[in-house]
Assembly symmetry: C2
Homo-oligomer: 197 residues x 2
């Protein structure tokens, strides 16, 4: 309680980062506490000085990431853009999240279904629902405003949208040739205009 102002650049967050990378690479269940400890140069038991359990590590990773992401989404939704513009902004924010929180997105993408089975991670299901409402809401509003093509199967388009955005974490590498803005531009062009001549 004494160090309330410091952003805690400590060993703890360092270890959390190491765990994040391994979870993202091999999956949560497939990563052992000994793997994490080895990567950190300590013994597995020593990890339990910093964390209660392996679960609490992912929990902390996913929770902080999602809180930050939804702050952006809420901001976009509350802005005074048109539905189509909001859709574009949400897509851009998502690709930026893949860039800035690559490991967390990968963990969420690969292990959310497994983790959602535990009571502790019930919030994952809630977030998914909220996510769905955000996207389908924007799509429906876009069709109503005439910005998007009439007769779209909103539910189906939502699924394609959601999956295509997040699955990019499988090949996108932060620091590579493509910036998240580049990818978002290309993707939005395909999505909005199609690839036909």
């Amino acid at each position: 309680m004494s160090a309330a102002s410091t952003p805690e650049p400590s060993r703890r967050s360092e270890l959390l980062g190491i765990a994040a990378v391994l979870f993202a690479e091999r999956g949560f269940k497939n990563t052992t506490v000994r793997d994490i400890a080895d990567a950190a140069g300590i013994l597995s038991g020593s990890l339990y000085h910093h964390f209660d359990s392996k679960e609490s590590m992912v929990d902390e990773l996913l929770d902080t990431f999602q809180t930050e992401l939804w702050a952006r989404y809420d901001e976009i939704e509350a802005s005074d853009r048109t539905p189509k513009q909001k859709l574009e902004a949400v897509v851009r924010a998502s690709f930026q999240a893949i860039d800035e929180h690559h490991s967390e997105v990968a963990i969420f993408q690969n292990d959310a279904a497994y983790l959602a089975g535990f009571d502790r991670f019930a919030y994952l299901g809630e977030r998914n629902l909220k996510f769905r409402e955000l996207w389908t809401g924007l799509l429906t509003a876009g069709v109503a405003s005439g910005e998007l093509r009439a007769g779209l199967d909103v539910e189906l388009v939502y699924r394609f949208l959601r999956d295509t955005v997040w699955v990019a974490v499988r090949w996108y590498r932060p620091g590579g040739a493509l910036t998240p803005a580049d990818v978002a531009d290309q993707y939005l062009t395909i999505l909005l205009e199609g690839i036909s001549q």
Copy 2:
């Protein structure tokens, strides 16, 4: 060697089907031989009367599925359609594969990266390469023939295409309201024409 004509409707294939469902639901590493045995109503040791190992089960599942899938792809590629028509046909064949071999596609989608680490599954990498060549070849030919928009980043479009098609296995349910042809139609419309008005 006596029953050469029968398609072997035996206990073996039955067990393989049970294993496929579990592998698809929980992931390969996350599924134990005891899980499979329990689902089949036998003890875990009894599985080894039918199969050499847990690995050989996925191996058989993935290999037979991919052989069948590539028979279709090769047929399409060798046909005398235009590049764009071939692209559409490949997309349709892929969605049909998701319908007919749902578990196998899910296993491939979720565990291919992990399995590719073993020598035994080196063919997964080769197939991936062949897959890439198929898609990028069709896209490049489509741009050259004027059917697809000029200036497309073929590599990026390929990734979007590949991921979006296969990730559908996460939400598509065989026997549901949507046929694979329905999904393919909707998807191709979005891909080719976009969602803008």
